[in-house]
């Protein structure tokens, strides 16, 4: 049924974007509060819509008829059902907390109005993405968040490295967008509609021919790869840490990167058209997750650790997608939003307190000077490590369980391998997160200057998120999967197995924590010995497995060569040459014909009579 609140959810942050920029130029202090208020208002409307949602109901709102010609109907429609509700709650809820945090983080920055304007614009785009009723509308939001990501990563654009990081993110996103467009084309051609409520019906999907189904599925996954940073399009995410920390928290932890998961979940019918597609998703996600975890072990910049951790966790979510457990993946989206945003924001507080120092080797002992931040970071670390009863445990455990129950023909015999691998990755995750905690907060301070706790406006949101990371899982995990059974296929519900089950499930996490504690606190010498022994691994890890270089060679160099040829040959000779030639012809003709105007009256009279004679000859019947 139609409900205006759906439109308000999107339009208020959009308005906030414009207004906070306009007003912020006059009074910079107002910009942050205004932007936060806008997102909070959107959150309020989302909550009210969510409360009103019952059963298989959904709310829609048509913004405009947009494309409507011949027999093509592609209206701009918004759609709010249970899946959208979950996503919107995360986006607006975590979003408003991050806006609040940014007021403190960006307090000394002169371009604050622009920052908050972009942040609101991002929220609006993300909401369009999540609320879109048809693929083109989702694509609008898709592009919008890509744009805002570019704008916000390169926010301090005067630094050329930051600007090129933004550009790299945008270009890689764009490659994914190609997949989106291909999938849209195939689906429209076969099914005649791009509406998501139509496209998931089996009778509609049956119209897609089998080869096209494979291509469409792969294309959609390509789009998700670009947005959610999976192989081979994930190298932009660590570079994106060049942006301000609230940006990293919002976009690259909680929301934009989850857009890929959302797309997969919405289009699950298309994904499952050809069983090869989920298998590809699974393997890609596995490889990504493993590589990212291995790289994260050797990173020294606290934000980079978190960035690779995000890539790894996204890989986990895609693992769940690959076995068809979409609601499990979404559950991990929610919990990941809690603890990753908390981690990033705590890191931001640390950076802020250490006067923009990001290298962990120059931190340490901050537990004493920043107790609240330390508490939050620790809680979130336990969550990401998968320790019961923290939030991350429930979602990770659910993923691992769903892996065990996969029945994809392409995965025969490999499902145990993947399950083991995923568990190993979980141990790794716990290991490097604990390492970062130890390096940052324990021990003694290795840097210069006097670190101080962040102001309340920054620590309050962080504490809220930390609390959510603690209790979120316990509260949500019972009803979550059944809640989403309307829009998404059902998952087998597994019992928690009691206390024993919890302990067993937390084992990988505990192992990782113990290993990190042992190596970094108890016996640092052993750590150095191991590092020297594994020097190959360390090299690979710290050089990010040379992925950037490989991509540069395989992709960027040929494109540069081609564009050089095109610009020299085509542009110079053909385009400019043609233009000059036409101009030359024009001038020659002009110079020839302008001689008619001799200025002599007799010439003009002669021409006049000649024309008159011609006309007379034409119109009078001369014998």
């Amino acid at each position: 049924m139609e409900d205006t609140r759906v439109a308000l959810v999107v339009l208020i942050p959009l308005l906030g974007s414009i207004v906070s920029y306009a007003l912020g130029r006059a009074a910079p202090k107002v910009a942050g509060a205004l932007a936060t208020a806008a997102v909070a208002t959107a959150f309020y409307f989302v909550v009210s819509l969510w409360q009103a949602l019952e059963g298989g109901q959904s709310f829609t709102f048509t913004l405009s008829s947009w494309l409507s010609f011949a027999d093509v109907r592609l209206p701009l429609e918004l759609y709010f059902d249970k899946l959208s509700a979950v996503m919107c709650l995360v986006v607006t809820g975590v979003g408003s907390l991050i806006h609040l945090y940014s007021i403190g983080y960006m307090a000394e920055d002169e371009s604050r109005p622009r920052f908050f304007s972009y942040l609101n614009l991002f929220i609006a785009s993300m909401l369009i993405l999540v609320l879109g009723k048809s693929l083109p509308v989702i694509f609008i939001g898709w592009e919008g968040v890509g744009l805002c990501s570019y704008l916000l990563i390169g926010f301090w654009y005067t630094n050329p490295d930051f600007a090129s990081a933004g550009r790299k993110a945008f270009v890689m996103n764009r490659i994914g967008d190609l997949g989106f467009l291909v999938a849209m084309a195939i689906l429209y051609h076969s099914c005649g509609s791009l509406d998501i409520t139509v496209l998931n019906r089996p009778e509609v999907l049956a119209r897609v021919p089998s080869e096209m189904g494979l291509i469409a599925g792969i294309a959609l996954f390509l789009a998700a790869t670009g947005k959610s940073a999976q192989l081979p399009l994930f190298t932009w995410l660590p570079d994106a840490m060049a942006g301000p920390t609230p940006v990293s928290a919002l976009i690259h932890a909680a929301t934009m990167v989850t857009a890929g998961i959302y797309l997969m979940a919405r289009m699950f019918g298309v994904i499952e058209l050809d069983p090869l597609v989920p298998a590809i998703i699974l393997w890609t996600a596995f490889a990504t997750s493993a590589i990212a975890a291995l790289i994260a072990i050797s990173q020294n910049d606290i934000k980079k650790v978190l960035a690779y951790s995000t890539v790894s966790q996204l890989g986990f979510m895609f693992l769940a997608v690959g076995v068809g457990a979409y609601s499990v993946a979404l559950f991990h989206v929610v919990t990941h939003a809690f603890f990753k945003a908390c981690l990033f924001m705590s890191a931001g507080s640390v950076i802020h307190g250490c006067h923009h120092e990001q290298d962990m080797r120059r931190m340490g002992g901050l537990a004493r000077s920043m107790p609240l931040t330390c508490l939050s970071y620790g809680a979130a670390t336990l969550a990401i490590a998968g320790i019961a009863p923290f939030a991350g445990y429930f979602s990770k455990h659910a993923i691992l369980e769903s892996l065990a129950h996969a029945h994809n023909p392409y995965l025969h015999g490999y499902s145990e391998l993947i399950g083991l691998g995923a568990t190993a990755i979980a141990i790794c995750t716990a290991f490097y997160m604990t390492r970062s905690f130890i390096l940052t907060f324990l021990g003694s301070y290795r840097g210069e200057g006097h670190p101080h706790e962040a102001p309340m406006v920054m620590t309050a949101p962080v504490l809220v998120l930390a609390a959510l990371s603690v209790v979120g899982g316990v509260v949500l995990h019972h009803g979550f999967f059944t809640y989403l059974q309307g829009p998404l296929p059902p998952v087998a519900e597994h019992s928690g197995g009691g206390i024993v089950g919890y302990v067993l499930g937390s084992l990988p996490g505990l192992l990782g924590i113990a290993a990190a504690y042992a190596l970094f606190v108890i016996a640092p010498a052993v750590k150095d010995q191991i590092r020297n022994a594994l020097w190959v691994g360390e090299k690979l890890s710290s050089r990010k497995f040379y992925l950037d270089e490989v991509l540069g060679l395989l992709v960027i160099a040929p494109i540069r060569g081609l564009s050089g040829v095109v610009s020299r040959v085509l542009d110079q000779s053909v385009s400019i040459g043609t233009g000059n030639a036409i101009g030359g012809i024009s001038r020659a003709v002009g110079e020839l014909t302008c001689r008619v105007t001799t200025g002599q009256v007799s010439t003009y009279v002669l021409w006049m009579f000649a024309s008159a004679a011609l006309l007379l000859y034409c119109f009078l019947p001369v014998r």
Binding site: S602, L606, F609, A610, A612, A613, L616, Y617, L620, P621, V622, R623
Partner: protein
């Protein structure tokens, strides 16, 4: 065609050629006066008596006098020696021929079918006389008549404005009245 008509027509055509042909503009002017009188004769032969008289009075009498005045005012010598090229002359005569053929062609094509008209050498007062034309002018062509008076007014005013002597020095030539202000 009677002898009278033939002579008058011949005079008209000859003087027309004279207007175009004479080098001296004064000779051209006099030739034009003769032409106008000849045409007036043709009008009379066609029974347009009022027009014949007004042709003599207005055209030959007033307009040509004005032209002669201006010619005298400018006190010109004959046209300077630059001759018009042969090519231009040929082209012009050619075009003239084409125009002549174009205009007279339709007529020549059907000269059998033109309505016959009788030429009356007796001057009849009713036909083409002042009364007849006056009746037409003041009834059917009233508006045009009034408007033409407006045109004449504009013409007078315009001519005075244009010809008024402004404060300019003439270039040293015997043109006009010298350098008088």
């Amino acid at each position: 065609m009677s002898f009278m008509e033939f002579v008058i027509a011949a005079v008209g055509i000859a003087s027309a050629i004279g207007v175009v042909g004479f080098r001296n503009p004064l000779s051209s002017a006099f030739s034009l006066i003769v032409h106008l009188l000849a045409v007036a004769g043709l009008y009379a032969l066609l029974g347009a008596h009022f027009l014949a008289v007004s042709q003599v009075v207005v055209y030959a009498g007033a307009i040509m006098v004005l032209v002669l005045f201006v010619l005298m005012l400018l006190n010109l010598k004959s046209e300077s020696g630059r001759r018009i090229g042969i090519i231009r002359s040929a082209i012009t005569v050619g075009i003239g021929l084409v125009i002549f053929l174009a205009v007279s062609g339709p007529m020549l094509a059907q000269f059998d079918n033109l309505p016959q008209a009788t030429l009356d050498h007796n001057i009849k007062a009713s036909e083409g006389g002042v009364k007849a034309i006056g009746e037409l002018l003041y009834s059917k062509y009233m508006v045009q008549f009034e408007l033409s008076s407006l045109v004449l007014l504009v013409g007078v005013v315009g001519a005075v404005m244009l010809a008024k002597r402004k404060n300019v020095q003439l270039t040293p030539r015997e043109g006009g009245l010298g350098g008088a202000k």
